[in-house]
Point group: C2
Chain length 347, copies 2
């Protein structure tokens, strides 16, 4: 099969197709599920709502066509019927928190490495050769040795989350090299947008900034706010997932996915505060537990995915924040519920 | 504490010290244990004799001073008393087989990653800040992008064993960065010598060549025999372990450890056959299950450990093979026992 070239409208590939989304109650997973349902796919979400990982059943409340199975991705019994005959798997189950991983490395190993190992074995048994798009992370690269970071950048994770996400990344590659699955991998930078887990600590600074700003409180920035990040709007990321899944025989199978612009944290915070109508941000020293895993500035070289699939970020940061604030306006109570807080405390 | 410079006689550091050797019934682990006992250390070996991993209780039969605890390194109950007050840990427990890892990835994850994660947590709790020397592997680098391979070479494991050994390597680094252990890591090339697991399939080509040669049979080489390897004699590797453990505040904590010369497989096989008095080797095509994970030629740049610790390989290959053949002459039955074969079959 030859490579079909750039993907102009990936949605058509999914019409009437059977698609499984792991971690589909989470932030990015639910956005992927919603878009797939809109594209006419038969979408099943698998999510075990592990406390602290950001699942929120409200994320799919307005997506009635999506079936939700409350199961762990290791539960081959619960998944058996779902994997048989599945056309695509979007694999977003996991824990994204650096901080949680340093507090409890075994939990992170279990959720991000062991669980994926079992899931991929089951996939390759029940749905051999099937396409699977995995949500990996820029964290596998660790502290950038140069900017922007491309796919040739050395792998050097600086926390447990990074090493376990890297292990799962290699698992996807190995099953593909063995000819037992057809995996594609996206190494995501900081993603933001509707359905973010605003009230789950340790899910990244963007959700934290947004929560504080949406509550009309003052965003506190650790350090001088000069570190760069290249936030990418979730709709753009969903495009990347759909393009990665739709590509026939792509020339490469791992792509970095980043935002259009590298912005100082100060600019990011000021934009959020301004759009949300919150007070101007203030600055304070890094707390010690964050300093350990601070990686300085980061920005993504997304030219490979642009070249291979035609993907590029389309939503400027301020516009993305405007849409995000607009989404959360009426929905905020569903993302600040006491339930979410309690779930986190149990983790 | 300042770095004390090159280690001329590492043995003195271990006299009357309490030392734990994990995987100490295995090939390299038992050689480390024997040398430490000779140096006057109080040596305790922990080994659970996992079938297929190369443990052989005969390896310590002539080392009466060494205590052996038959326990899994995850068994914190069994280890509790041993870790309290320990001065050094030599951490060699694990499964080294590429082939086994491709046949059963979960088993490899369990033995090489999860077990190490639990063990390091327990070490850091019971023996905080303690020195630990970990046996990592050249496999973390995957297919060499250049030769000889130094420590800056990109990490790109090509099998499950490589990714799990890499995860455990990073675990050691992270616990050290958190200030909870003082780990040093050796990335070993192919090691050979007395106490090798000759009769355990999947433990590398050197043990296989030696077993066939020692039985007077014909060594069969896969491919044309031109791939390079730089075998290193186990006594040299034991030196590296003792030096790495003895160094106060070394400038780096991860070192590649390789042999003095990169030799074609054909030369390696011919040397073994000649010294062992076996027929000349023959050549045959690569079997498919090996081809997947063949990495071509490999040779090690050991200049960092030479610079930091003063280590260098001292035993030329032919001399090492002579000593190995001499060791196994009277001992061969203990390394070809039916027991070892059966244990392997159960794996």
């Amino acid at each position: 099969m030859r490579y079909k070239g750039l993907i102009e409208n990936p949605s058509v590939a999914y019409r009437h197709r059977k698609v499984l989304v792991t971690g589909g109650l989470g932030f990015i997973g639910s956005n992927v599920a919603v878009r797939l349902a809109e594209a006419g796919a038969q979408v099943t979400v698998v999510d075990s709502s592990v406390p602290g990982c950001g699942a929120n059943s409200y994320n799919l409340a307005q997506a009635p066509g999506v079936r939700v199975i409350h199961a762990d991705i290791r539960d081959s019994g619960a998944l058996a019927g779902e994997l048989l005959g599945v056309d695509f798997v979007f694999n977003l189950a996991g824990e994204i928190s650096h901080v949680h991983s340093m507090q409890n490395p075994s939990r992170d190993a279990d959720l991000n490495a062991t669980a994926q190992l079992h899931f991929l074995e089951e996939c390759s048994r029940q749905a051999p050769g099937r396409r699977i798009v995995y949500a990996s992370t820029r964290q596998i690269y660790g502290v950038p040795q140069y900017l922007p970071v491309d796919e040739q950048h050395p792998v050097r994770p600086v926390d447990f989350n990074g090493v376990h996400k890297y292990a799962a990344t290699v698992y996807h590659q190995l099953w593909t090299e063995m000819g037992r699955l057809d995996a594609r991998i996206l190494c995501l930078t900081n993603v933001y947008g509707p359905r973010m887990a605003l009230n789950v600590p340790g899910q990244g600074f963007l959700g934290h900034f947004l929560r504080v700003g949406l509550l009309g409180e003052t965003i506190r920035i650790f350090g001088d706010g000069r570190q760069l990040r290249d936030p990418v709007y979730v709709d753009d990321v969903v495009d990347a997932f759909l393009m990665a899944g739709a590509a026939d025989n792509p020339p490469r199978r791992l792509w970095n996915v980043g935002g259009a612009a590298a912005l100082p944290l100060a600019t990011i915070a000021e934009t959020i505060a301004r759009v949300a109508g919150a007070p101007a941000p203030v600055y304070q020293p890094f707390p010690p537990e964050h300093k350990t895993i601070d990686i300085g500035s980061y920005s993504t070289d997304s030219s490979r995915i642009r070249k291979d699939l035609g993907w590029r970020p389309t939503i400027p940061f301020e516009e993305g924040i405007r849409r995000t604030v607009q989404y959360f306006g009426p929905e905020l109570p569903h993302y600040l519920s006491r339930c979410a807080v309690m779930a986190t405390r149990r983790s």
